[in-house]
Amino acid sequence: MSTPGRAPRSSSPPRLWTTRVRERAVAALPPERLLPDEQPAYVSSWIYVFGVLTIAALVVVLVSGAILGLKGPAWWHVTGVGRFFNGLHLWAVELFFFVMVVHLWGKYFMGAWRGRRSATWVTGAVVFLISIATAFTGYLSQQNFDSQWIATQAKDGLNSVGIGAFFNVTNFGQMYTYHVILLPVAVVALAVWHVLLVRRRGVVPPYPLEAHGRSVTDTSS
C-alpha cells in the first residue's frame, strides 16, 4: 500500500550503480568483441603485428623495471645479474620504441583514425609522447655520470621554457618518482584504453581499392 504523496514502489529491484556500469560496459564491449576468435582477412599482414609487439616489449620493460626498482642502484651497477637486468630494461625500451614507431607509421599511412577511430589514434599518439617523457626520466634515474650530464644539460633547456621550477631534472627523487610511478601508470592506463578502443571499433581496414576495380574484400583472395 503506497503512502499518499509518494510514488508507488516498483516491484523490480532498484538499479544500482554497479548494474548500470556493468550494462554499459557489456553493451560497449560484448565478450565476443572483447576477445574475438576471428579477425578480418586484411589483418593478415606483418604491419598489423607491431601493435602487439609494442605491448610485449612494454611488459618486459615493466617487469625488468620493477626488479631494478626493488633491488636498487647498487645492485644494477655492480652485480652481474643486476647489470644484465639493467641491459634488459634498456634494450626492451629500445625495442619498445622501435616497434612503436613502425606501428605509428603503419597506422598513419593507413589513416587509422577513419571510421570513428579518432579516439584510438589520439590515445596512441598520447601514449607515444608520454613514453618519451618516461624514457627521458629513466635516463635521469641511472645514478651515474651519464644521468648527471643529461640532467645538467637538460635543465637549461627546461628552464628556458619556464617549467624547470616544477620539473626539476636535477632532483633525483622527483625524476625517479616520475619514472617509476606517475608516468608508467599513465602509459599503462592509456595503453589499456587504446587496446579497448581497438576492440570496440575494430582494426582499421586498408584504404579501398575501387580505383583499380577491386574492393577491400579482395584481400582474402
Partner: protein, 73 residues
C-alpha cells in the same frame, strides 16, 4: 672488467662486435646533424616497415573477409 662479472669472456666477446670506446661518429648535412647510431636505427626502422608491408603473412587461423558486424569500415 670491473664489478666481478661472472662471465667476462662473454662480455668481451659481445663488446668486440661494436667498439664503443671512442667518441660517437656524426653525419653532417648543412644544418642537419645526427649520430651514426641514430641514422642506423632510423634506417632499420624504415627497412622493417617496408618488409612488414611486402613480406607475405602465413595464414593459420580462420579469418573474416570483412569487419565484424556493427563495426564501421
Amino acid at each position: 672488467m670491473t664489478g666481478g662479472s661472472p662471465v667476462p669472456s662473454v662480455g668481451l666477446m659481445l663488446a668486440a662486435l661494436v667498439n664503443l670506446s671512442h667518441p660517437a661518429h656524426y653525419v653532417h648535412w648543412h644544418f642537419f646533424e645526427m649520430s651514426v647510431a641514430n641514422v642506423v636505427v632510423i634506417g632499420l626502422m624504415i627497412g622493417v616497415f617496408w618488409l612488414a608491408i611486402l613480406l607475405p603473412f602465413p595464414r593459420r587461423h580462420p579469418t573474416r573477409s570483412q569487419p565484424p558486424p556493427g563495426l564501421e569500415p
